[in-house]
Symmetry: C2
Subunit: 403 residues, 2 copies
């Protein structure tokens, strides 16, 4: 079940990007792809952010090393069904082997390949299956395979996640197309689950790094399903430059569309969150610092009591107040706090609003998309994060994941 999420619309090819996907045998069901290859033209720039989880997976370690090696990135090799995390030295060796297999077939150094894995933690990566699949995978590379790639990186996702936009800058058409996956173990921190966004705009490396940092903060770094930061999160932005149209982070129109693509991808992860029946936007306004605003929003978003009330469509504002009251923020003047559910004011000056009625609250709670807005009336900083409710199905999906 998803919350207002449908299959991707038209996915425009990005000049300079070729993709392929196949079933290599990592997943049991042979009708489902589990291996994806992305290839970039030779002038491409690549920017990446990774999980901050200290137990990061082997592919995260190797992808960072390859990025730092000075070799241009030409390939991304992404498998689903196995995270290659908690696999020690063998996991690292397996990961390098798969990069080497691509490199040998394509006559590039192995450092030009970045590896990514997502799936079960702690199982050995079936490196032979992956290596055997690579020659035919390379042959299948084509510019129209974005949807197949989006499907090939799925794990507990119920729908593929992809967004595509085009804009015209100085008479030249520029395309931005991206895919991502993720449904549980979602609380990215400076990174996300797997996300790959490519554009044919021309963006130099240092500029691309800044662009990615800027859009990631308000998209993938502003979502949470369960507060659990994955060991394998990664988010990449690739600029092939093939459109010959230069842009920078100060190009408002391009950045606005780039931000739209990132936000829609990030929201699609929440809309497909494990067991989600509601899409919740939490807005915190007029905080003393943006850090405070984010901490407070996350405290509400992670409260199991708030999340179960949302699942029950119960306007239990007492639980939201209790979460606000325990948030680890520098100072809170409870007499100034205002709380809104959609447009309905629940609490003003720290007290139940006189005009509030359960009926008004219930009317908002019945909706699928719900905005919880907290105004601290203390400062000028704000934050917005997106999350889900906590349902029977979240428990079911995660209790039965390995069984």
């Amino acid at each position: 079940m998803t919350v207002g999420l449908s299959a991707p619309g038209v996915l425009h090819p990005v000049k300079g990007v070729m993709l392929a996907s196949c079933h290599s045998g990592i997943k049991k069901d042979s009708t489902i792809d589990d291996l994806v290859l992305m290839q970039f033209s030779d002038e491409s720039s690549v920017a990446a952010v990774f999980t901050t989880n200290k137990f990061c997976a082997a592919p995260v370690t190797i992808a960072k090393q390859h990025l730092d090696s000075g070799h241009a990135t030409r390939y991304l090799l992404i498998n689903s069904g196995n995270a290659n995390a908690g696999t020690g030295v063998e996991g690292v060796e397996n990961c390098i082997s798969t990069c080497a297999a691509i490199a040998a077939e394509a006559s590039f150094p192995k450092q030009s390949v970045l590896p990514f894995s997502t799936g079960v933690i702690g199982a050995p990566l079936p490196v032979d299956k992956i290596s055997s699949a690579i020659p035919s995978l390379i042959k299948k590379l084509g510019e129209d395979n974005w949807l197949a790639a989006a499907k090939g990186i799925m794990t507990t996702d119920t729908l593929p996640k992809a967004v595509s936009r085009q804009l015209v800058i100085n008479g030249k058409k520029v395309t931005i197309t991206g895919i991502c996956k993720g449904s549980g173990m979602i609380k990215p921190d400076m990174a996300t689950m797997l996300a790959y966004v490519a554009t044919d705009a021309l963006i130099p490396q240092s500029e691309l790094d800044s662009c990615l940092k800027q859009v990631v903060n308000s998209s993938f770094n502003s979502i949470t399903v369960d507060g659990d930061t994955s060991t394998n999160d990664a988010c990449l932005l690739i600029a092939t430059g093939v459109s010959q149209q230069s842009v920078s982070r100060t190009h408002d129109e391009f950045m606005s569309v780039l931000n739209e693509v990132f936000s829609l991808l990030a929201q699609s992860i929440i809309r497909d969150g494990e067991g989600a029946t509601k899409f919740i936007e939490i807005q915190v306004e007029q905080a003393l610092s943006s850090q405070d605003a984010r901490e407070l929003a996350y405290t509400i978003a992670h409260s199991p009591l708030v999340k179960t009330a949302l699942f029950a469509s119960d306007a239990n504002w007492g639980r939201i107040l209790a979460a606000i009251g325990r948030a680890p923020i520098s100072s809170l003047d409870i007499d100034k706090v205002a709380l809104f559910l959609g447009d309905v004011c629940l609490v003003k000056n720290g007290l139940p609003d006189e005009d509030y009625s359960e009926q008004k609250g219930q009317a908002v709670m019945q909706q699928q998309d719900i905005i919880i807005r907290v105004n601290l009336n203390q400062g000028e900083e704000s934050a917005t994060i997106w999350t889900t409710d906590l349902s029977y199905d979240y428990v079911k999906i995660n209790a039965e994941y390995r069984s």
Copy 2:
């Protein structure tokens, strides 16, 4: 359903303490008590800790004021079914009215009464029902009513929680008896849900404050169900002195028994945790600081993915490692981390232990009481906290709480 929790055993009266309980009409079911009165003899000392939630309830505010007033505490008035939280000025006035009703009947100043409420947040306290019940409640006061009091303070608790111990010091018998309630919204911080422990030992005020602080840290401040700190938490230690036996915090035997009473009461809250099917002890050893040890233990305890794996009896150690990896602690050397499930080593030096098998892990996971032990091999500090799994029933109980 509870996890290894049975009805309380023998509850020894505490000299100098009288109790009474009745149904006043706050709860719908007239066969269930919802109002409890405790009375202390005139030389009693009382120490208290309260919730740190900034949206604390009216009774917490008033109880603190009355404690600070310099008047000796002679009565505790505790109602269940209504938290009197988020009720503004009216809530404070209602709270003071109930104290005044006791005071008028008993000819004491109202500051000698401490009020406590637990239940639904945001509903007006039915002060008339409470006041009407007080005269007969005072008449019912008796020293043998500990079990009735334990029942009268229950909300979503499925069993009353009470522990009693006696010891002989210098030939004099000293009794410690306590009751508590709590099942959800449990992550006390310097306080707990409602807990009242009384002894007839003679302990001066300043000494009693120190005793309470010491035992609360390793009991009620070391448990969590859902990470949600309540607006109404309070924990009191009362020393009537009627046994004429003086003790202090340096009296090892007394403190050991006091600690046992507090720990068993705290554990009983976890064993009756909302939807709990497992009782989990998380031990973190050889951390650089006790703060780090506690943070790490709580990160594991609050992870919905770890909790659902525990519910499923699935030895999914990858989720525990992922939680360790994202814990907000000062420094973590993942190559030194060891992880045990009961006596079974899962991870050594940050990697899966060679002798580990799924079968060994499953054998531990099938048990009802499970110890998760993390050794960081970095320092000398440790922490132990207690928690539950996350089950369908947790979601059910909290989704249907007000419906």
